[in-house]
């Protein structure tokens, strides 16, 4: 499916969820479509850690749904992430892996891994019960609500075409992303992030 159409649909549907985007296309496209700076953590330096980072957030924000976006390049660096996510089994974590068959952050340089491996099959083999695979926008539109609303950790493979262009990164420095995101969580009923008492010796 078309990458941008896929993300436009997701941006339309994901209105209340906490979102963590990985480096490259995911962060750039989400920023271009939404311009959001509060409930989104643009983890532009992630190299396979976006979903476990999101899992840490989900641990503390049990009442919120946390959506993590990672790329297939990152996934291939660290497929063991599935075992950690399976072990955690966080009911409020939904992991979307964008399979575009290339490294989107480095000029869409192709990689062969998607032709060699069945990503959804790998997730099932890791013991994940709720695994989804979407190859069309219509299919995603139909299955997305179930994936998001049914309780339980879920993993989805989004088969998309390469974006074919390089978009600007969100114009936010790291600490700004941290403070905007953390203050948003605090303001919307989350645990204190920055205002916790610092224990004294």
């Amino acid at each position: 499916m078309n990458f941008e159409s896929c993300f436009r649909l997701l941006a339309e549907r994901l209105k209340d969820e906490i979102v963590v985007t990985s480096a490259g296309n995911c962060s750039e496209l989400w920023w271009q479509i939404t311009g959001e700076t509060e409930r989104v953590f643009y983890l532009e330096a992630s190299m396979s850690l976006a979903s476990v980072f999101a899992a840490g957030i989900a641990l503390g924000a049990a009442e919120r749904t946390v959506v993590a976006f990672s790329g297939d390049g990152a996934f291939c660096m660290n497929p063991g992430m599935l075992l950690v996510e399976r072990q955690l089994a966080l009911p409020n974590l939904k992991h979307f892996m964008v399979a575009n068959g290339c490294y989107g952050s480095t000029n869409d340089l192709a990689h062969p891994f998607g032709e060699l491996a069945d990503y959804a099959g790998m997730a099932k083999a890791a013991g994940i019960e709720r695994v989804y695979e979407f190859s069309t926008v219509a299919g995603l539109a139909q299955g997305l609500d179930e994936m998001l609303r049914d309780p339980g950790y879920a993993f989805a493979v989004l088969h998309v075409e390469p974006l074919g262009r390089h978009l600007p990164s969100p114009p936010l420095d790291g600490p700004e992303v941290k403070f905007r995101f953390g203050r948003y969580l605090e303001r919307t009923g989350g645990r204190p992030v920055f205002d916790t008492l610092l224990h004294r010796q």
């Binding site: 396979s48 999101a54 063991g80 950690v84 089994a89 969580l185 645990r191 992030v193 224990h199 010796q201």
Partner: protein, 205 residues
């Protein structure tokens, strides 16, 4: 699901205990029962110090020196212990937990720490996310493992090279410094690493 998690924890505990017993059976510890008691007592002190800091999440990947410590964390209901697939995952998970308002401790061996330079500099330094990291000080004089001598040569210089505050825990009295290290991490919004010597972890210092 709950049942699986419970079984998973039991398997982890069993594996850690097997690792400890395995070391003993290979004769690497000449005074095994004393060492085990000493290691257990120290492990308990470290666990209590972590709890006093407000830490409730521990993500670990083992080193032979910290199996007793990991077992303590895994068996203590004050913590959620997560056995990660690689050390970088501990950095990612614990960094996210900070934003979830959870106190976290990433525990690993020296070699594993050296694999985390990317994650630490890109995630924790870029976004200024505090994190308490515990490592073993492998490769110091007294460590008989030849394959850890590279840590003796490069571990502390690498920590210094990335400007990360380093708190060595060389005597049992130093365990109290965990609180200062944790607090310093929060104050400076950067990771702080505490390094445990073999002697401390065995209850001999």
């Amino acid at each position: 699901m709950r049942r699986w998690q419970s079984e998973g924890r039991s398997r982890i505990l069993w594996a850690h205990q097997r690792a400890i017993c395995g070391e003993q059976s290979r004769g690497q510890m000449t005074d095994s029962s004393n060492v085990k008691n000493g290691a257990d007592a120290v492990a308990q002190r470290i666990v209590d110090a972590a709890a006093a800091c407000g830490i409730t999440l521990v993500a670990s990947l083992p080193d032979g020196w910290i199996t007793a410590l990991i077992t303590r964390f895994a068996g203590d209901s004050r913590f959620r212990h997560v056995a990660v697939n690689r050390e970088e995952s501990a950095i990612g998970l614990c960094s996210g937990a900070f934003l979830g308002g959870i106190g976290a401790f990433a525990l690993m061996g020296a070699s594993g720490f050296l694999t985390c330079i990317y994650a630490l500099t890109k995630i924790n330094y870029t976004y200024q996310i505090p994190l308490l990291i515990g490592i073993t000080l492998r490769g110091r004089p007294g460590d008989g493992a030849k394959f850890h001598q590279s840590n003796g040569l490069y571990l502390e210089p690498v920590i210094a090279a990335i400007g990360m505050p380093f708190v060595p825990i060389e005597r049992s009295g130093d365990i109290a410094r965990l609180a200062a290290a944790h607090r310093h991490s929060r104050v400076m919004s950067r990771p702080v690493v505490v390094g445990f010597t073999r002697e401390v972890l065995r209850g001999e210092a």
